[in-house]
Amino acid sequence: MEKSNLNEKTIQINSVKFHWSNKSKFKLHIPELSVDKGEKVLLLGESGSGKTTLLSLICGFLSPLSGKIQLNEKLINDLSATKRDQYRSDNIGIIFQQFNLLPYANVIDNILLPLYFSKLRSANISNQRETAISICQSLRLPEDVVNMKASELSVGQQQRVAVARALIGNPPLVIADEPTSSLDTDAQNIFLDLMFSQVAISNSTLLMVSHDKSLSSNFDRVIDMKNVSVKEK
């Protein structure tokens, strides 16, 4: 999909408000935020600025108290919790900061895990195992890694396997929560390059969260939490 196709929004957020009932100090209010289809967006913000809460809302873990969250023009905050879970597995690949993998499962099983929950993504692939191996190859993971236990991999390798898992079955949206924070600078750049190339191949939109401004040049657009959220006391 062309990036210039600005009419199609992968994420569209309007007047979303959220706060934890027991954490009265923290309140999130986002008047407007949108991400175009195929865009690579970096969401910058200090810790405590609400980045992770925003991601939880987009992923459907949380439901906003008011406002609209649309993914691929589908309003998700009206869906039941079960449907939001299903929607997430069909449409979103998620990469955490670290410890992304089930340590006791091998690499292939970890990569194929989302397909177990999403018929839609599983239907996109004819041969699951081969696809997983080929993604691993593109991510320059050593060949013998695929049958190893996740706990036996280095942190860098684990993060690449996490990318492979997020991208299997070509979900429209990939959300990464500071995936490079546990990597050194060289590894960060290699990781980002590999992730970008894979995201491009699968035509996915990427929303990555970081507090590291130096990564900005790699992205199509940078959104600062300070500019999208309204401070509420």
Binding site: T53, F96, F99, L102, Y104, P114, Y116
Partner: protein, 416 residues
């Protein structure tokens, strides 16, 4: 795939899981052993005497008659005369009878006078006969046959001389008429093991110089003279009776109970055994209570173990959720885990139980006279296993629901 991953997950925590399975298996095994012992004790108890239709004695309660005639506990209230006994056994319904004469002892073991019919007719464990392990039958007037327990505890062998004491706790011995062990019976697991058996004539013989429970002062009849005397029994304590047809049991029982010449009681051993077990059976309820407590403790233990693993597995739950697993799947995973652990525990405990029984069965039989049957699992056991699995899955709901709330609230923010 979920099943495979659950197994992988359990395997990754092999040590903890193995310890859990082992702990639960031990508890389950304890439960099953207690159950086995309980049922075996009951069977052994009710099998103390079989194929005897009626026991006849002087007028008394059925439990008391059973206690002194079969278990040799307590004393007979009275004897019955040989004439009454003959009247009973001359009834056409009676197929066979074994007279029993009790009252004397040897070093704490009861001495029982009887005839050769006893060895033919006394059956236990559903029809097993008593057998001589060593030596021979009562040929001589002063021969005794001793039970396996007597031989073992007193370290007697064939040929050992012994003196019978008068009464049960008496200091006066029938030392003028020494006996000799002629045979030793094989172990039966019944009170016969602790009995010294002599002939009815021998009982008469040792009381020749006695009158109304006391030795006649100065009177010592020489053994040679006694051997020439008529030693036909004048009294017996009780008799075991077999009838020709089971249909006649009640008719004969009524006749005996209404016997006008003497006050007699006749009891059905099976019924009396049940009655007695109801008294002894308090222990049974106690064992059952212990069993249930053990199972309950086990379940709590398993829940605690799953609980303690929850925090370290919070991240794992978050990964499942990120993949699209609903909180219900998270609950399901934990319940599946509890299910697998309980099934494995059942298998391990069953194997352990059978191995233990296989090793200990001869010892239990020899020491306590309880024959523990090594048989395949009964329907009741399988029923209990299923109940355990269901209970285990249900109690695992407690940590699972906690995991449910974790996974709902954690979302993207994963606390380690």
């Amino acid at each position: 795939m979920l099943l495979k991953l659950t197994f992988n997950s359990l395997y990754a925590r092999l040590l903890t899981v193995a310890m859990t399975v082992f702990a639960i298996s031990l508890s389950l095994m304890l439960y099953m052993s207690v159950e086995k012992l309980r049922t075996s004790a009951y069977t052994s108890f009710t099998d103390t005497i079989s194929q005897t239709d009626l026991i006849v004695g002087a007028r008394t309660s059925s439990v008391q008659l059973l206690l002194y005639s079969v278990f040799r506990i307590g004393n007979a209230t009275n004897n019955i005369t040989w004439e009454s006994y003959e009247d009973v056994i001359n009834k056409k319904e009676v197929a066979w009878s074994v007279p029993i004469s009790l009252g004397d002892s040897h070093k704490g073991f009861r001495v029982m006078g009887t005839n050769s019919e006893f060895f033919k007719r006394y059956k236990f464990r559903g029809g097993q006969s008593i057998e001589l392990e060593q030596g021979k039958n009562l040929d001589d007037l002063y021969d005794v046959i001793i039970g396996a327990g007597v031989a073992e505890k007193l370290n007697y062998s064939v040929g050992t001389p012994l003196i019978v004491s008068h009464g049960l706790q008496s200091f006066s011995d029938h030392d003028d008429q020494p006996f000799r062990v002629s045979g030793i019976l094989a172990k039966t697991g019944t009170p016969v093991d602790n009995t010294v058996i002599v002939s009815l004539e021998a009982i008469e013989a040792i009381h020749v110089d006695w009158s109304t429970g006391a030795k006649i002062p100065g009177q010592i009849t020489p053994v040679e003279e006694i051997r020439q005397m008529d030693l036909s029994p004048k009294n017996i304590t009780a008799a075991l009776i077999g009838v020709n047809s089971k249909l006649q049991i009640f008719q004969l029982q009524r006749w005996i109970n209404d016997y006008p010449e003497e006050s007699l009681s006749s009891i059905l051993p099976g019924v009396a055994l049940q009655e007695l077990w109801r008294i002894v059976g308090v222990v049974e309820n106690l064992l059952l209570g212990i069993s249930v407590t053990v199972i309950f403790t086990t379940l709590i233990g398993m829940t605690a173990i799953i609980f303690s693993s929850l925090n370290e597995r919070r991240r794992e739950m978050a990964i499942w959720r990120a993949m699209g697993a609903s909180p219900k799947v998270v609950i399901g995973l934990l319940m599946l885990e509890a299910f697998i652990i309980s099934v494995m525990s059942i298998i391990v405990s069953t194997v352990m139980l059978f191995l233990t029984l296989y090793v200990l069965q001869p010892w239990i039989d020899n020491t306590y006279g309880i024959l523990v049957n090594i048989e395949m699992l009964a329907v009741k056991d399988i029923y209990i296993f299923m109940l355990f699995i269901i209970a285990a899955s249900l109690v695992s709901l407690i940590p699972a629901i906690r995991a449910y709330w974790f996974s709902i609230n954690d979302g993207m923010t994963i606390k380690i």
